[in-house]
């Protein structure tokens, strides 16, 4: 499974954000989501999905090896993380996030919930393992 994105059909509903936080943290809080949707209004009236494509730059940048590679995704191990935030700065897409409650940053772990529940198929599975609706 890999996340594919079609910004043109995104409606900005942010189901992806909330389901991500509920899945990862068991908390209902889009500020704890590893995916974000940004609106560009009033012009040109478009949404832009900020998502992780598992490029691995964060993994390469972590000075203490706290980011692990697992089945096609990278995961930050909070217990090993020193909170230096180098990964946050390195991420070319700006999708390694922080939250005031948390000492370690967090990122997408490719659980697939957002693309399964995106109502518009703006998020979909590039590998086609999750069927489009």
């Amino acid at each position: 499974m890999r996340i594919g994105v079609n910004n043109d059909v995104c409606s900005g509903c942010r189901v992806c954000e909330v389901i991500c936080s509920l899945r990862q943290f068991k908390e209902n809080n889009p500020k704890k989501a590893a995916i974000r949707v940004k609106g560009h209004f009033p012009a040109p009236g478009k949404y832009e999905i900020k998502f992780c494509d598992q490029c691995g730059e964060c993994f390469n940048s972590c000075p203490v090896g706290a980011i692990k590679e697992e089945n096609g995704h990278y995961r930050i191990e909070p217990d090993e993380c020193t909170g230096c935030l180098v990964c946050v700065e390195t991420c070319p897409k700006g999708v390694v996030f922080t939250h005031p409650d948390l000492t370690a940053p967090f990122k997408c772990t490719l659980c697939g919930d957002c693309l399964r529940y995106c109502p518009t198929n703006a998020l979909y599975d590039l590998d086609g393992e999750v069927a489009k609706r």
Binding site: S11, G12, V18, L22, N28, P30, K38, F41, P42, P119
Partner: protein, 614 residues
């Protein structure tokens, strides 16, 4: 006290006169008895706005309240209620806005924000989690709603959710809106006017907290099931492409489309202003409120003789009130007027009613070209835009029209009362009800004045027969309890109304989120309590309020529908009285439309019974 799940936990009070900001824990009793959103607004208006307060004086309060389910993962959880004593009707006022405001208020930790007093100079209320500040808003004063929103997001941060008023709100036009998310509005009853009277240009909110859930694992599972159910319903694919504009054809086919100031119920050009014209000709993107799977927001770019602009919409109400009702037969032109009204901060429903009233007054010679400053013509984009500008600035004829059709007719005289299409001082929204008795009764009895959202009963008329009065009151009452419940829980109702998503889902989710073991009937019972409270509020505030305030304008019982599918149809005064008699009896109200002491006590409104001497 046990922990409040589903709630932010705090009520925020702002006194603009003294600059004092106070926080208090949200009382559990208030949550259990009034739930949130509209329920909080109704209870707080009753308790905190002293009887007899002038709606535009510092004593009035604007209350902003999300609901217990706002911001929670479920279809359509982005609705925020605004309330204030209405400057339009003098009675209970509230209005609801979608977008992303309600969730953000919850993430900042608040269940209600109570804004009282009045600031000395233009102000922006900035709520950044626990930090609340009153910031000088002079640089935004005079700007359009959307222009100001863009500026404020740039200045304070793109992750703020922002509500603004426009020049109309600043200049105390009685039907001024509160705007949010570049084209969503709390449009009705003049909530924006009251904010303007307090010199509040905008409210900006940012929150980083989690909403506490009683059973997070179960909420996660139930929410997924709710989305899957929405995806599987046929309406998910059929209704969504056109949103509310999709109903334009049907309303014309049943002869209930407001046309030429509600002169008739059918507009020949309706195919040029319907859902497909919107989608094919001007759509830029679908635009959803928070967590909505069926985005009714249609963000557009329109080009007319007056220029090219972006606008959210037009949605159905605007198509009705500024299309058919003004005889504008082009989706581009309607979208343009929509843009002008949105930037100026004028409600397109009341605004459409007022413009049509002015055009009919011009046609009938009540307003002359000299008084108006130009010709005011149906079907003319220039006339419409000219009037909106004049109204927003309260210049010339605009000053008279800025008070709404009831007040304008009283001032203009010359029989213009006949062209003032309103109930209780609130202009009627976009369903022509002469051949839809349940819809007529819905307008007559809606607590805020003639508004469709309390009971969209026209579908019931069409379903069970439009010539009969039988059973109509019963259905209207049912709807008046179900529909406002969404405003109380902080949710959108369109998933239920438009694609048939079942009500039972909300009842199942509610205890998982809040830990309060209410069944659907308990929630409906609270909704009935709130309905009686808002009625009582208007009784308390308006001298002699009752049955006389529940009649529609004379056009609706003196004139038959002249053209279209409903041609020759209409209701008589006897019909209206029969509808009201049925309605009052079923509600437990007396023949004057006043709730009985017994009914009030049965609903736990003893304090209301006492205040009304019942």
């Amino acid at each position: 006290m046990s922990k409040l799940y589903g709630y932010g936990g705090t009520i925020l009070r702002i006194d603009l006169t003294t600059g004092e900001i106070r926080k208090e824990p949200t009382p559990e009793k208030l949550c259990r008895e009034y739930l949130g959103g509209r329920g909080f607004v109704a209870k707080l208006e009753w308790d905190e706005v002293a009887p007899g307060t002038d709606p535009l004086s510092p004593g009035n309060k604007v209350i902003m309240a999300p609901g217990p389910l706002s911001g929670v993962l479920l279809p359509g959880s982005g609705k925020c209620e605004f309330g204030a004593k209405s400057p339009q009707t003098g009675g209970y006022g509230d209005s609801n806005v979608g977008g992303h405001l309600a969730p953000e208020v919850k993430y900042a930790g608040y269940d209600a924000v109570i804004i009282g007093g009045a600031a000395a100079k233009p102000t922006v209320i900035v709520i950044d989690d626990d930090k609340v500040t009153l910031v000088d808003g002079s640089k935004y004063w005079g700007k359009g709603c959307i222009e100001a929103e863009a500026m404020i997001k740039k200045d304070f941060g793109e992750d703020f959710q922002v509500a603004t008023i426009g020049p109309a709100g600043e200049n105390l036009v009685k039907y001024a809106i509160i705007s949010h998310d570049f084209g969503r509005q709390a449009g009705r009853t003049g909530v924006g006017t009251v904010l303007g009277s307090k010199k509040v240009k905008a409210i900006a909110v940012r929150g980083t907290k989690s909403i506490p859930l009683a059973q997070p694992d179960k909420v996660y599972e139930k929410a997924k099931q709710m989305f899957d159910r929405c995806f599987s319903l046929p309406g998910f694919k059929e209704w969504t492409p056109y949103g509310t504009a999709g109903v334009t054809d049907w309303v014309n086919e049943v002869g209930s489309f407001p046309t030429k100031n509600f002169w008739t119920g059918y507009f020949e050009d309706y195919k040029k202003i319907n859902g497909p014209s919107l989608r094919e000709r001007i759509l830029v993107t679908d635009k959803a409120c928070f967590n909505c799977p069926i985005p009714c927001g249609k963000y557009s770019k329109t080009k007319t003789s007056k220029g090219e602009v972006y606008v959210e919409g037009p949605e159905y109400e605007t198509i009705g009130m500024m299309g058919g009702n003004l005889l504008l037969g082009s989706i581009e032109e309607i979208a343009y007027v929509n843009y002008v009204a949105d930037e100026l901060g004028i409600d397109t429903i009341s605004g459409g009613g007022v413009l049509a009233f002015a055009m009919e007054c011009f046609e009938k010679g009540v307003i002359t070209e000299r008084e108006a400053g130009r010709k005011l013509l149906f079907g003319d984009l220039d006339s419409a835009c000219y009037l909106l500008e004049k109204i927003a600035k309260r210049e010339g004829i605009g000053d008279v029209l800025a008070d709404g059709v009831r007040a304008a007719a009283a001032k203009l005289g010359k029989g213009s009362e006949k062209y003032a299409i309103h109930v209780k001082g609130l202009e009627i929204s976009a369903y022509e009800p002469r051949y839809a008795p349940a819809m007529m009764l819905a307008y007559m009895t809606a607590d805020v004045g003639a508004h469709h959202n309390r009971a969209w009963a026209i579908t019931y008329d069409v379903q069970v027969g439009r010539d009969t009065l039988e059973g109509k009151a019963k259905r209207v009452i049912e709807l008046q309890h179900i529909r406002p419940l969404f405003d109380t829980l902080g949710l959108c109702r369109l998933q239920w109304v438009e694609i048939g998503f079942e009500l039972s889902h909300y009842a199942e989710l509610f205890p998982l989120v809040t830990g309060i073991n209410y069944m659907w009937d308990d929630l409906l019972n609270i909704s009935e309590r709130i309905w009686n409270l808002t009625r009582a509020y208007s009784i308390r505030e308006i001298e002699g309020f009752g049955r006389d305030h529940d009649y529609p304008p004379p056009r609706f019982y003196e004139e038959k529908v002249p053209t279209g599918p409903a041609k020759g149809k209409g209701l008589t005064m006897d019909d209206l009285n029969r509808l009201l008699d049925d309605y009052y009896a079923l509600r437990g109200w007396d023949s004057k439309g006043i709730p009985t002491g017994r009914k009030l006590r049965e609903l736990g409104l003893d304090y209301v019974a006492e205040a009304l001497g019942r």
